[in-house]
Every structure is written in structure tokens, then in C-alpha cells.
């Protein structure tokens, strides 16, 4: 127990990230199932408007910030140091700090579900209820007087710190800790996409941080940044939010693209086709992702010039995305494809992401978007991108790296059930939403009139959602069974090309017995110019120093939610206690002796 609380081992932190994010993913999924049950027929099944608005807000917020991002972070933590030939990340204690802040921020936000009585709210749940996008001026004190929005903005602030700390950590790690010979263009594609993602994190999160600070001032200190009656502008919030929010979309999808770029070559037994193009298109997407935010705002009425410019940039970003898809198909072409579960999920990713990408092009066109935005058509689009894309990619990563992370292989037969149920379920759930949206069903409504004629489509969507739920039960069963009696993995169950497969599963605490010298992009494979890397010795030839754990990251992390709790309960002294905890924690952390 103590060893887990004080751990600075990137592998243990990776596992902590994984399990925590997975639990949040299941919670977000349950929220989705209640939403779908309510919408199964017109006029609902009795979920109140208040509860429904909390559920869709928390579903979006949870999936984006507490499930998809940290599930990617689990792989960053576990896999990146192994792929680049490092013993750990650059700042192991900062890494532990990131995790604890993420955990506490997530718990703080979800505590809103039961915190009602503390605020005399007259109901149990005071969860955030203004959508994951939290549009001003609905979030102002006037229109949202309860603590709901405070939970949201303070929780996101805390989570942002976790993301920023991790972002800097991984940039430094990937740039500075590569094994000798691993030049940037020998970096595995997953590590490359992680690097791009982290640059987006450290540039995009400050934007949302500023926006949330302004919102906090509006709500706590009576300023009027977003309040038109006081001279402020609610549209400013939309610009700030989407200036963060669109890079955030790429923060969510690029890691999954990286995973797929690892899985496809391994199971096609061919190196990634057009590696440099895939890498550069990822970098280009990262840059272009900054110039498209107003395509979320075509209905605002920004004028024909602004609409045209953002339509143009948005359509352009489809080009590097398309290039990636062609290169993945190029990787498959001429290969020896093995249909493992990981591979099925990776192929599923491509097939579904194409659909999400094409519907994306249809709302890159502002006039067309005026009929689509804020309808279920867009709900279909984001779920093809974030479930069909990111989530299928993450499942591919889970099946691919599970043996490395746990030493045991997930059952392939249960895995195939998991895959097919997920694929069928998601298409049943999300495909009809294109139609319910275009037939006139707006998003974020807890009820709809039977006369709209979309009851049947919604029933299909609900059935699909529950099928996805069933698929998750199969996956859970697979995890439990594998824990008890999964086949031992060995070093390299798949015949992978990258360094993580050169060591035992799970790897020893020091990772590499000897830091390898890297001579090619696929160090474990035979190429025209290079023989496979010689196997690492089973035991380290010289003793390897591994730093011990530290309590201070955990201690320091507690300061942040303490500040948030102080702020939300309007107890200044508690805020100051939180500040003191952070200062003392950082001081002790900085002067902690190297050995424990």
C-alpha cells in the first residue's frame, strides 16, 4: 500500500492511471445508459430535466477529462519510457503528482453528485448542469445560482494542472531521454503522436485555464467578463473555450492514431507505410488544429468572411487526416495480416473514423452546418470520432499492451466477442443519430415530442448503447479471467518491432538491463540494412540505481482540491490551508534527499 502511494515508477503510475480512468469510463458509460434509457421513447421514462442536464454534462466532462485523456495518459506513462529506451520519465515525482491531482480532481467533480445537502440544495445531486462546453452566460450566477457550475470550473482547473504537469514531463522525456541512436525520425509513431499531443496540452490548457479564471471571477467576485448586462460578452467564452476545445479534440484523437500506427505494422508484419508522412501529418494536424475553432460557432453569426475562413481551414485539416488513413491502408497492403483482437480494434478504428471524418466535412461547410449543429447529427459525428476513433484505438492499445503491462494475455476469444459487440453496438447506437438529428432532434433535450417521428430511431440508438454496455461486461469478464488464469505473455507475444518488446513482461523496475543502442525504426525486426537488435541480457551486468518513492507528490496534490473545497464552500481559511499545503509540499519535495 505504502509503496503504491509513494511510487514514482512510471509503470505503476501508468497502471494507477489506467484503473482510475477505466472506473471513470464506466461511470461515464452508466451516465450514457441512463440518458439513452430516458430517450428510448418520446416524452421520456421519468428522468427529470434537472437530472438529465446533469447527466449529459457529466457524461461529456467525464469522458473527455476523466476517461479518454487519462486512458491515453496510462499508455504514455507505461509505454513511452519503454519505447524510447529510458529507465523512467524525466521527472518521476512530478509524474506521481500529475496522477494524484487527476484522481483528486476527478473525485472532487464527482462528489457533486452527493454534495447537495451540504449546500442546502434540497436535492442530493448538485452536479454540473450547463454542458461540458459550459456556455456563458448560462453559467453566470444569475442563471446558475447553485454550486453546480463551481464544481465544474474548479474541478476542471484542478484537472488542468494535472494535464499541464504531465505535458511538460513527457515533452522533456521524449526529447531528452531517448536511447542512444534513437533519432527523432526513429521514434516510434506512438511516441511521436504523444509528443505532438503534449505540445497541444501545454498550449491549449492555458487557454481554458484563463477562461475558467475569468468565469470564476464572474461567479465569485462579481466581475462581468461574460455578462452582457455588465458590458461583457458571452461570445468571448465561446472563442476561448473552442480555442482550447478544438486542440483538445486532437489531444483526444492523436494518441489513438499513435496506437493504431503501432498495432497495424505489428500485425501486418510490415513497417508503418510512409512513416515520415504519418509523423509530419500528425505535426501538421497539431498546428492546423489551432486555426479551426470557430467552426464550432457557425450559428453564432460571426459574418460571412469569418465563416468562409474557418470553413477553409477546417476543410484543409481533412487532408493530413486523410493522408494518415491512406498510409494505414498502405501498411496493411501486402502484409501478412493476423486478426488478433488488437488488430480488429485498430481496423475498426480506421473504418469508423472514416465515417466520423466524412460527417465532419459536412459540417465544415457553414450553411450545411446551420442545419446540423446542435442536433443529434453532431452527436453522431463526435461519437464516431471519439468512440469509433479514440475509444476503439484505446481498446486496440489495451489488447496490444496488456501482456506487457500485466504479464498475462487477455483472452482472444472473449476479446473477439468484445470487439464485435462493441462495433455492432456503436453503429446501432450512433448511426441512426445522423437521421434523428437531420429529422429535427436537437441535442441536450431530455424529452421530445412524439410527432417529431424520431421515436423509432431513438429506440434503435438505445438498444445499441446497451449492446455497448454488454460488450463492456464481456471486457470486464475478460479482465477478471485473465487476472486469474490468463496465459503468460513472455517478452514478445506479438512479434513487435519496438523496444518495449525487448524486455520481460511486466518489465523489471529498472526497465532495461542495459540501455540498448538503436539503429533503426524497427529495432527488433530484420530490415534491408539492419539485423534485429541483439537480445538484452536477462539480468543487469551492473547494479542499477532506482530512486525510492516519495510522499511529497501526494501531499502536494492534496493542496489543490483543498483550495477548491475552500472556494466552493466560501471558506477563505480552507483555501489558505490548501495554499500552505502546496507550498510546504513543494518545498519539502525540492529538498528531499535523493535516497530514501
Amino acid at each position: 500500500m505504502k509503496s503504491w502511494l509513494t511510487t514514482t515508477d512510471h509503470k505503476r503510475i501508468g497502471l494507477l492511471y489506467f484503473w482510475t480512468a477505466f472506473v471513470f469510463f464506466l461511470i461515464g458509460g452508466l451516465e450514457a445508459l441512463i440518458i439513452r434509457a430516458q430517450l428510448a421513447r418520446p416524452e421520456g421514462l421519468g428522468v427529470s430535466a434537472e437530472t438529465y442536464n446533469q447527466l449529459f454534462t457529466m457524461h461529456g466532462t467525464t469522458m473527455v477529462f476523466l476517461a479518454l485523456m487519462p486512458l491515453s495518459a496510462a499508455f504514455f506513462n507505461y509505454i513511452i519510457p519503454l519505447q524510447i529506451g529510458a529507465r523512467d520519465v524525466a521527472f518521476p515525482r512530478l509524474n506521481a503528482f500529475s496522477y494524484w491531482v487527476f484522481l483528486l480532481g476527478g473525485l472532487f467533480m464527482n462528489a457533486s453528485f452527493i454534495a447537495g445537502p451540504l449546500f442546502g440544495a434540497g436535492r442530493l445531486s448538485v452536479a454540473p448542469d450547463a454542458g461540458w462546453f459550459g456556455y456563458a452566460n448560462l453559467t453566470s450566477k444569475q442563471f446558475s445560482p447553485g454550486p453546480n457550475i463551481d464544481f465544474w470550473l474548479l474541478g476542471l482547473q484542478v484537472l488542468g494542472i494535472a494535464s499541464l504537469a504531465a505535458g511538460f514531463n513527457f515533452i522533456v522525456t521524449i526529447l531528452n531521454m531517448r536511447a542512444p541512436g534513437m533519432r527523432m525520425l526513429r521514434l516510434p509513431a506512438f511516441s511521436w503522436m504523444t509528443l505532438v499531443t503534449q505540445f497541444l496540452v501545454i498550449t491549449a490548457f492555458p487557454v481554458i485555464t484563463v477562461a475558467l479564471v475569468l468565469l470564476m471571477f464572474d461567479r465569485f467576485f462579481g466581475t462581468h467578463f461574460f455578462i452582457p448586462a455588465g458590458g461583457g460578452d458571452p461570445i468571448l467564452w465561446q472563442h476561448l473555450f473552442w480555442l482550447f476545445g478544438h486542440p483538445e479534440v486532437y489531444i483526444l484523437i492523436l494518441p489513438a492514431m499513435g496506437i493504431v500506427s503501432e498495432v497495424l505494422p505489428t500485425f501486418s508484419r510490415k513497417p508503418l507505410f510512409g512513416y515520415t508522412v504519418v509523423v509530419y501529418s500528425g505535426v501538421l494536424i497539431g498546428f492546423m488544429g489551432w486555426g479551426v475553432w470557430s467552426h464550432h460557432m457557425f450559428s453564432v453569426g460571426l459574418g460571412p468572411i469569418a465563416d468562409s475562413v474557418f470553413a477553409g481551414t477546417t476543410m484543409l485539416i481533412a487532408v493530413p487526416t486523410g493522408v494518415k488513413i491512406f498510409n494505414w491502408i498502405g501498411t496493411l497492403w501486402g502484409g501478412q495480416i493476423r486478426f488478433t483482437t488488437a488488430m480488429l480494434f485498430a481496423i475498426g478504428f480506421i473504418a469508423m473514423f472514416i465515417i466520423g471524418g466524412l460527417s465532419g466535412v459536412s459540417h465544415a461547410s457553414p450553411p450545411a452546418d446551420l442545419q446540423q449543429t446542435d442536433t443529434y447529427y453532431v452527436v453522431a459525428h463526435i461519437h464516431y470520432v471519439l468512440f469509433g476513433g479514440t475509444m476503439l484505438g484505446l481498446f486496440a492499445g489495451m489488447y496490444y499492451w496488456w501482456p506487457k503491462m500485466t504479464g498475462r494475455q487477455l483472452s482472444e476469444s472473449l476479446g473477439k466477442w468484445h470487439f464485435w459487440l462493441t462495433l455492432i453496438g456503436m453503429n446501432l447506437a450512433f448511426f441512426p443519430m445522423h437521421f434523428s438529428g437531420l429529422l429535427g432532434m436537437p441535442r441536450r433535450i431530455y424529452t421530445y415530442a412524439p410527432e417529431l417521428g424520431v421515436g423509432g430511431l431513438n429506440l434503435i440508438s438505445t438498444a445499441g448503447a446497451f449492446l455497448i454496455g454488454l460488450a463492456m461486461l464481456v471486457f470486464l469478464w475478460n479482465i477478471v479471467r485473465t487476472r486469474r488464469s490468463g496465459a503468460a505473455a513472455g517478452n514478445d507475444p506479438w512479434g513487435g518491432a519496438t523496444l518495449e518488446w525487448a524486455m520481460s513482461s511486466p518489465p523489471p523496475v529498472y526497465n532495461f538491463t542495459v540501455i540498448p543502442h538503436v539503429a533503426s525504426r524497427v529495432p527488433l525486426w530484420q530490415t534491408e540494412h539492419h539485423a534485429p537488435m541483439t537480445p538484452l541480457p536477462a539480468t543487469p551486468p551492473a547494479p542499477i540505481h532506482v530512486p525510492g518513492g516519495s510522499w511529497w507528490p501526494l501531499f502536494t496534490a492534496f493542496g489543490l482540491p483543498t483550495m477548491a473545497i475552500g472556494a466552493i464552500s466560501h471558506q477563505l481559511w480552507l483555501v489558505l490551508v490548501g495554499v500552505a499545503v502546496v507550498i510546504v509540499g513543494i518545498y519539502r519535495w525540492a529538498y528531499e534527499p535523493f535516497e530514501m
Partner: protein
């Protein structure tokens, strides 16, 4: 599998009759422009979808691993292919971008001279409409003449809403402190459904609206009736008793009836009896819904500002009769 779904759903949606809020039945120049642009993009998307998914399926079908096969040749890339599949999507996007730009400017929200001006004001959770040149106002049910250019100018009294009537055009947000515009010309008479499309708080789902597009003569009759003073009830009638109850009640603080009450918070009731629906186009305007609505509005529409009213059954009957008489 998505293709099968497309087929099934296309059949399902082919008949546009029972879908009053569908985007597939455009009834104005604005919505027709969008519709043709959408189908242009749709068919390009279908072409790309078929090409790419076919390549994917062919690849996984052709190159499945066979026992004993040699390790595939490690191909690292192909410059001509990379250039090709960069340029091809870029070229297709040109065919989408050009009509897009044309449509953006064609539907920029400015009606020609002589258009009928309509102001739409969003409230949590109902719509206020003003016709400044006709000097009338109404709520939730917008009446428009067919064939006349309409200039819609929109703003919000509170949070951001979005005015969306799919048959007549794309949606546009209503923001406090700003004026946004759309313009269109309805090309056939009918009753078109719409609703708020921007999440605006607890009863966002219940902020619906109707647009009644009428031939000129019918529209003119409707305007004349709206301009007339509210009907005065006959002496000694049930309606008159209702009017007295109305005068004494809390209703007057929020609702306008010309000559009776000055309230400005809720929808005006001058001609409430002539509307087809109440409560933001949520319920049919009949005696039963009026009874339930006045007795306890928040139970029917969460968050509604109108508190439950404690009238005796007789008083409520009289009040409902009075409201229904305000044609």
C-alpha cells in the same frame, strides 16, 4: 454494416410527411440553398466512403496471413502515392469549398428592400415576436406571409438561444446584447415546427415554436385581428367573471392584456385564444391544458417562472373561459 443501416434508414426517412421538423423538406429559398449544398457534400462523401472503405476491405481480405508465408517485403513508403492521396482529397474539397463559399454569401442574412421585418427575442423558455412595421407582437407562434422576403432580427433577453425552423432555414443564435440576422422567403403555406437549438437551461427541451406561413390575405386577416383591442367579455358572462378574477390575481404582474394588465415578464395574452398551442408550443391550446397549466406550470415545464396558482375550481373555469375568449 453502416451501408445496410443507411439503406434501411433512407427508406424510413423517404416519406417526409410525418417529420414536421425535418431538414429534408425545404420550404424557403434559404433552406433550399442549404439542402442542395448538403446533397452535393453528401454524394462526395459517399464516393470517398466507398473508395476508402473498399480499399480497407480489399486490403484485409487479400493480405490475411497464410501459414508458412514469408515475411513481407518491408516497404517504407511511396512518394508518388503520398502526393496522389494528398492532392486527391484536396481536389475534392475544392468541389465542396466553392459552392460552400457561394452559399455562405447567398445566405448571409440580408433580405432585399421591402422585406417584412420580424424581431425575435428569446426568453427562458419561450419566444417573443415583434413586427415593428405592423406594430404588433405575439409569442411562440410566428405568422408569416408566403412569398414575401422576411428579415429576421434576433436577440435574447437572458441566455443564448438558437432559433431553428428546419423547413425555413438554418439555425442562428440569439445572444443578449447582440443582434443576429437571417433572411428567407417562404415558398409554400403551411405550419412548420421548430425549437430552440442552443442549450439554455433546465427547460431547453420545452422551448418549441411554430411558424404559420399563410397566403397574403389570411396573413392580413391575422394581422388585423392582432391589432384589434382584446375582446371585452359580455356583461354577466362566465368570461367576464374570469376577467375579474384575472384582474385580482397575480397574473397581471407578468402578462399583458391591453386595457387590463401591464405585465411584461411573460408572453402577452392579448389574443391568446387565437393561438394553437400554449407554453412554448408545448401543449395544444384547449381548456384541459389551460387548466393544468395555470394550476401548476412548473410541474409541466420544469423551471417555468409562473408559480402554481391556487384558484378554486370555479374560478379556474372562469379564468380559462376568459383566456379562450381572447381570440
Amino acid at each position: 454494416m453502416p451501408l445496410v443501416l443507411v439503406a434501411v434508414l433512407l427508406v424510413l426517412t423517404a416519406c417526409s410527411g410525418p417529420f414536421p421538423q425535418s431538414v429534408f423538406a425545404p420550404k424557403s429559398d434559404f433552406s433550399t440553398e442549404i439542402d442542395s449544398l448538403f446533397w452535393n457534400i453528401f454524394w462526395w462523401a459517399v464516393v470517398v466512403f466507398l473508395i476508402v472503405e473498399t480499399l480497407l476491405v480489399v486490403a484485409i481480405a487479400r493480405y490475411r496471413a497464410r501459414p508458412g508465408a514469408a515475411t513481407p517485403k518491408p516497404v517504407h513508403g511511396h512518394t508518388a502515392l503520398e502526393i496522389g492521396w494528398t492532392l486527391a482529397p484536396a481536389l475534392i474539397l475544392v468541389f465542396i469549398a466553392v459552392p460552400t463559399m457561394r452559399t455562405i454569401f447567398a445566405t448571409a442574412g440580408h433580405a432585399p428592400e421591402g422585406a417584412l421585418r420580424v424581431e425575435v427575442i428569446g426568453h427562458q423558455w419561450w419566444w417573443e415576436y415583434r413586427y415593428p412595421t405592423l406594430e404588433i407582437s405575439t409569442s411562440n407562434e410566428l405568422h408569416l406571409p408566403v412569398g414575401t422576403p422576411i428579415q429576421v432580427e434576433m436577440t435574447s433577453a437572458d441566455v443564448i438561444h438558437s432559433f431553428w425552423v428546419p423547413a425555413l432555414g438554418g439555425k442562428r443564435d440569439l445572444t443578449q446584447g447582440r443582434t443576429t440576422r437571417i433572411a428567407f422567403r417562404a415558398d409554400s403555406s403551411g405550419e412548420y415546427w421548430g425549437q430552440c437549438a442552443e442549450f439554455c437551461g433546465v427547460s431547453h427541451a420545452n422551448m418549441r415554436l411554430r411558424v404559420v406561413v399563410q397566403p397574403d390575405s389570411a396573413f392580413q386577416r391575422w394581422v388585423d385581428r392582432q391589432r384589434a383591442a382584446p375582446v371585452a367579455p359580455a356583461r354577466g358572462s362566465l368570461e367576464e367573471k374570469g376577467q375579474q378574477i384575472f384582474r385580482r390575481s397575480a397574473c397581471i404582474a407578468c402578462h399583458t392584456i391591453a386595457g387590463v394588465s401591464p405585465g411584461k415578464v411573460g408572453p402577452d395574452l392579448n389574443h391568446v385564444g387565437s393561438r394553437a398551442t400554449i407554453a412554448g408550443a408545448l401543449f395544444p391550446n384547449n381548456s384541459e391544458s389551460l387548466h393544468r397549466w395555470i394550476a401548476n406550470a412548473p410541474s409541466l415545464k420544469p423551471g417555468a417562472l409562473m408559480p402554481p396558482q391556487n384558484f378554486s375550481a370555479e374560478d379556474l373555469d372562469a379564468l380559462v373561459a376568459y383566456l379562450q375568449s381572447l381570440k
